[in-house]
Symmetry: C2
Subunit: 379 residues, 2 copies
């Protein structure tokens, strides 16, 4: 007997799922976009995830289908579900991570804390929202955004006139999402997992720091957070996870406001950048937990016993391969845990991450930032 | 640029090296004995490691050759070294791990603590040693032994008469090794690593418990060991590692005697069963460290901050596949870290291991033993 998981998408999340698959003796197959994918060490099939036949064929030899990204069209997932394939999270749950308007409506319905928001189909509706909650607001395309793409901070509807053009608007889901620009003191992320038997486990909520809309640093657990807010974050995740019947990992990105509220910013239903610290920092890594959850296996301990800091490695050039800096990094920072995603360098591309476990967030962060500079060759 | 490591042998040690290879973006290739090897997730070539051409071809596309086991004939290694291949550890160092007589002689020369021993070529020589240091002594075949094989406790040379037959003796290296049966209070293992630049790092010495000559449990760090003996263990490892010019991991198995001495029992120059705890229990796992050491990269931190216990999973049947017990194990022991080697079941075969990190050795050991019973289906 062998558990078999099929992952659609061959990025770093699929790559990092191969590690617990090796440890647990789970067979992992990846449907990758290209021959040279980040997850090519797993048994990778190269194919188009928007093609029903490709996905159906891929699903034949596995027990469950799960994801490295949210971009598989819902129609494809519904069709393979109808054919009897176990898709985790299901198309029904995943719809909320694929479409931000669907998400806002569902969160409102279940009573999870949204910022003020509106579905807008015309510049006039947007300008009216700006008049009420501006001067600045956040406009988001309901589908297709990630890492800051599909998100604009605007003061006037003219700044998203391209998105309102009928052809563009149709592609983006027929309407835009506008949200108040929340005045927050910091961003948090609550990562959790749920299996289809309903077992739920959450890691401690973490602090995430963004740079140009992309996750740059994560501090786990979130430093100086009241136990009340930590509890609240977990409750929000559990509410969303159970109400939307999420299986596998759920990341809830949140704002912590100056007046002590938590507001949901984004959802992801897969391993998430905010949880990479868990590989070294927790008893169960988010990648192992995701595999266990989608296979409906009991979940592992999520304890974090020491402060952990994760920093992303974003490409600073299209040429420099950071492998050349391994000796320097390893010599100077013998406790820095490096994760390479095996990608060719490109400016702004997520090429890897470094985690440091320390006695304090301050010392771990200082080491992690220096280690990042060393591996990226910043002098 | 990419670091490329070739591993001869496709067992669980090669399998577990693939994890840090994924993390660090190191290309790993394995020369496996069979198609269905434990390390088949790595790019595995199937071939005979006693065939020079096979090994030479395998070595062509990698920066360095290292090992999952000690059984590659020295002539093969010398031949590929002569052809310019980097072999780590070198044939010169590895000779000491392949031949127990070579090892005893070298340890004596460098002043490492041996039990009393003798090279014996005849029953009369053996009986004379028994007369002096018996009534019981340990007879070992210099080559080919592992996990208790090639080792006998005897009171009379007649108990190893088969090994003294001329044809057998020639195969075993021309002589036998006899050692006093050390009266020990427990067995310890000192794992360390050294790169060819000479950097040396050791994990804390651990206590190993054997069952029928096979490692059964490991407690890390060794409980209740005086700091003096812990320091001594590390000094012995460093002496051996530097004197014999070992590169990569070195495991020194030792006896702790009632009168507070340490005596070297066995050496291994590769990742070792006594170091599996380091995957979760130390900043740097022994598998990552071995890859770094053989590539002459700087070594990682070897700190162990909490008590760790590792238990081996030895097959209790030729049929029962422990995968069926995953739900039970995971439900009851959510902090047990399971490692499966992906092998078909067989009585006595090492099928995997479990590590538990705890607040005390007692609690971690109790959990690990219960978890082992659960996964092996012992009711």
């Amino acid at each position: 007997m062998q558990y078999r998981v099929g992952v659609i998408g061959g990025g770093q999340l699929a790559r990092m799922m191969t590690v617990p698959a090796i440890n647990l003796g789970i067979e992992i197959k990846v449907l990758a976009e290209t021959e040279n994918s980040s997850a090519k060490l797993a048994a990778a099939v190269v194919g188009d995830y928007t093609d029903l036949k490709t996905v159906m064929d891929f699903a034949k030899d596995v027990d469950v289908i799960t994801f490295d990204h949210e971009h598989v069209p819902l129609e494809i997932l519904k069709a393979i579900e109808a054919a009897g394939v176990s898709v985790q999270p299901s198309s029904k749950a995943l719809a909320h991570a694929q479409n931000k308007l669907v998400m806002r409506k569902a969160l409102e319905k279940i009573g999870a804390p949204n910022p003020r928001w509106l579905e807008v189909s015309s510049p006039a509706e947007l300008d009216s929202f700006i008049g009420e909650f501006g001067p600045e607001v956040i406009v988001k395309t309901p589908i297709g955004g990630y890492d800051g793409k599909g998100v604009r901070v605007v003061r006037n509807s003219s700044e998203v006139s391209d998105w309102f053009e009928p052809a563009a608007l149709a592609l983006l889901g027929g309407a835009l999402l506008v949200e108040e620009k929340v005045s927050f003191v910091r961003e948090l992320a609550q990562l959790s997992a749920r299996n289809s038997s309903g077992e739920f486990r959450a890691w401690p909520v973490v602090e995430t720091r963004q740079s140009n809309g992309v996750c740059s640093e994560v501090l786990a657990p979130a430093p100086n957070l009241s136990s009340e807010l930590a509890k609240k974050a977990k409750q929000i995740a559990e509410l969303i996870s159970s109400s939307l019947e999420v299986t596998g990992n759920l990341a809830v990105e949140m704002f912590e406001t100056a007046d002590g509220r938590l507001l949901v910013n984004e959802l992801a239903m897969r391993p998430h950048n905010s949880g990479h610290f868990s590989i070294e920092g927790s008893t169960t890594s988010q990648f192992e937990q995701h595999l266990r959850a989608v296979l409906d296996l009991p979940l592992g301990e999520t304890e974090v016993s020491k402060p952990a800091v994760m920093v992303n490695l974003l490409g600073l050039s299209n040429e420099i391969d950071f492998v050349e800096n391994y000796p320097e990094l390893m010599k100077q920072y013998s406790n820095a845990k490096l994760h390479s995603y095996g990608k060719s360098p490109r400016i702004g591309r997520k090429l890897g991450h470094i985690t440091v476990i320390g006695d304090s967030h301050e010392s771990a962060l200082a080491t992690a930032l220096q280690a990042r500079a060393a591996i990226l060759g910043v002098r």
